[in-house]
């Protein structure tokens, strides 16, 4: 670390990058998939087709849940918007149990498809890593903090960031090509990488950095949450007197007038009780910040009780950062940009991880028998970089192939997802490094490209039918899966060529000269 600023930053970049690399890759890969979580959600539930008016869907869900969940002390429904086709509903019961379901906006009742994790699985893995609360979330935040550090130190390391901005020389091969690729990917989406890491921590701030909250409120977290959403303050205790609930439509009309936008979320406290309260919150279409602005009504009389005041500057900043991460404001075109930026992040991390081994392989005393740490990184690189795509494809396969009546079906899908990553790591440990890359890439190419065929053959979404029906979201999802397969095919062929013994390249160079 004596070699000046750049050398110390290079050191920091290398090691923070390596420490968090595999985890951040997993978070980026699933986060990129999460951009299209509503499409994946709809793909896994072929019975959902109609796009309905959110207000009508909410009304149906409200009517359904009042009858279907009489023991609920609280229930909430996320309305559909231009992107969603199901409504996620949750409720908590008098006896302290919880439930959740995906409701069909056409009926307000749970979707008839076999239970599935759907797009929600990628979303939750993205920040909880399928680990118990709060450890998964803490690990995700820690990884994000390491990643942000790696990005900052990477920028300082790269002294010719502007003159090398467009430089990618794959023909040079080896370390140079990997370094060029890594730099280009890093420079391209630099603003994205920084803000997505920081805003990611902001979304989990109360778990990872609760000290702002405890500093101002001591142990009284409830007071913090009440102050964060002041309109919800003073929710009455359950009266124990049954009452007929007011119809929802007039409340939605009033809320949309007061909030200046469409309603996106419904929460009912003490449904069916004299003390019932109905809260309606805005959706986030076309607004950067993720507002919590909402209106609260008396559930029995339907009278408007409170509207949330505009947030203060700090809260507004927080909402803005939160909103930038969730990208709920984004229409289809902007979500494609998020998707490609996410892919470039995956490429950045993958190339950085590979670069660690490429730059050290030449210095190995005995390349046939590398030291343990080197071999570990090699194995884990394949395990993470190929394991995640295989696991994502594996989820789609599992969703189509698992029997509909299987107990705990979404959890089994999740276990298959994790098992695929584990299997890739084991496989990578058993095979020579280059073979492991090539073979897993071939498998990924097949696994992704075959999904639309598998789906059509098993009664799921059908590309031809989607085309005929003009269901462009499902067409695009199927084609994206095929394109990902194509990407892995290219990678497999490329890796296969690089894996070929040196004479071939020498011959090619000789022929070129």
């Amino acid at each position: 670390m004596n070699g000046g600023l750049r050398a110390s930053m290079s050191w920091l970049h290398t090691w923070t990058g390596l420490i968090c690399g595999w985890l951040v890759f997993a978070i980026f890969a699933t986060g990129t998939a999460t951009v299209f979580r509503h499409e994946i959600e709809a793909w896994t539930r072929p019975s959902l087709s109609a796009r309905s008016d959110p207000a009508v869907g909410l009304q149906r869900a409200y009517d359904h849940l009042l009858v279907a969940a009489p023991q609920a002390t609280l229930f909430g429904v996320q309305a559909t918007n231009g992107q969603e086709r199901d409504m996620l509903a949750f409720w908590s019961n008098l006896d302290g149990t919880y439930g959740q379901a995906d409701l069909d906006p056409a009926t307000g009742a749970p979707a008839v498809d076999p239970p599935t994790g759907g797009g929600e699985m990628f979303y939750r893995f993205h920040f909880e890593l399928m680990a118990p609360y709060p450890f998964g979330r803490l690990a995700a935040c820690l990884a994000a903090a390491f990643f942000a550090s790696a990005v900052v130190s990477g920028v300082i390391t790269h002294k010719r960031i502007f003159s090398d901005f467009f430089t990618f020389r794959p023909e040079k091969g080896g370390q140079r090509a990997w370094l060029d690729g890594h730099n280009v990917l890093g420079a391209l989406a630099l603003p994205f990488h920084l803000f997505i890491a920081l805003t990611g921590i902001v979304t989990l701030a109360t778990t990872f950095m609760p000290f702002g909250m405890t500093g101002a409120y001591g142990q009284d977290a409830a007071a913090f949450y009440a102050d964060s959403a002041p309109e919800t303050r003073g929710m009455p205790e359950r009266a124990g007197k049954p009452a007929v609930m007011a119809p929802l439509a007039p409340m939605i009309a009033t809320a949309e007038r007061e909030l200046g936008g469409k309603v996106g979320r419904l929460t009912v406290n003490n449904p069916g009780d004299a003390s019932a309260r109905v809260s309606l919150h805005r959706d986030n279409q076309g607004r950067l910040s993720r507002p919590v602005s909402g209106a609260v009504f008396d559930g029995v009389s339907g009278r408007l009780l409170a509207v949330s005041p505009p947030p203060g500057p700090a809260m507004a900043t927080n909402d803005l950062l939160y909103g930038l991460h969730m990208a709920e404001f984004a229409g289809p075109a902007l979500r494609w940009l998020y998707f490609f930026a996410g892919l470039s992040g995956c490429g950045l991390i993958a190339s950085g991880l590979v670069l660690w081994t490429v730059s050290r392989r030449r210095k190995l005393a005995n390349p046939a028998k590398p030291y343990f740490g080197f071999r570990l990184v090699e194995v884990m690189n394949v395990g993470a970089v190929m394991g995640l795509p295989l696991a994502i494809a594996g989820f789609f396969w599992a969703d189509r192939l698992l029997p509909a009546g299987l107990a705990d079906r979404p959890a089994v899908e999740g276990r298959i997802f994790l098992a695929t990553i584990a299997a890739t790591i084991v496989y990578s440990a058993l095979r020579p490094q280059k073979r492991a890359w090539t073979e897993t890439a071939w498998l990924a190419a097949f696994a992704f490209a075959a999904i639309p065929l598998l789906s059509a053959a098993t009664g799921g979404r059908n590309l031809a039918a989607s085309l005929a029906a003009g269901d462009w979201a499902m067409v695009a999802l199927d084609l994206t899966l095929v394109a990902l397969g194509g990407g892995f095919l290219f990678m497999a062929r490329r890796a296969g060529r690089v894996a070929a013994p040196a004479p071939r390249r020498a011959a090619r160079t000789a022929a070129a000269e």
Binding site: M1, N2, G3, L5, A7, S8, M9, S10, W11, L12, T16, A145, A148, S149, V151, V152, S153, I156, A197, L198, I201, V202, A205, T206, F208, M209, F211, G212, M213, T214, G215, A216, Y217, G218, F224, D227, S228, G312, P313, A314, M315, T317, N318, L321
Partner: protein
């Protein structure tokens, strides 16, 4: 990297380990203290409690990825150690004097 092979002695390894402790553990502690101190001190300046809590948290989150750069950029490990210790003492005192706002 060249430096790494040149003086990969115990002293060098200890120095790196110490900086890692500063960059991860002490960094988190310092940011937590900063969040606490801001959340407690800002209400004294008339900021609402919820605003102070959120402002403190945001400052801590933004500072966290930058501090390791400072820790590893310093020529000697003493400098970040002393600066962070002084910062922690200052923030601690401020937070302690202010107490949890009512």
């Amino acid at each position: 990297m060249a430096a790494a092979s040149a003086n990969a002695g115990v002293a060098y390894r200890l120095a790196v380990a110490w900086r890692a402790v500063l960059a991860v553990g002490a960094n988190y502690g310092l940011c937590a203290l900063a969040a606490t101190a801001l959340a407690r001190l800002l209400p004294l300046a008339g900021v609402s409690r919820v605003e102070a809590a959120v402002a403190g948290t945001l400052v801590a989150i933004i500072a966290m990825p930058v501090l390791p750069v400072f820790v590893f950029a310093a020529r000697s490990a003493w400098k970040p150690t002393l600066v962070m210790a002084a910062g922690a003492a200052l923030l601690w005192t401020g937070a302690w004097l202010a107490g949890v706002p009512a």
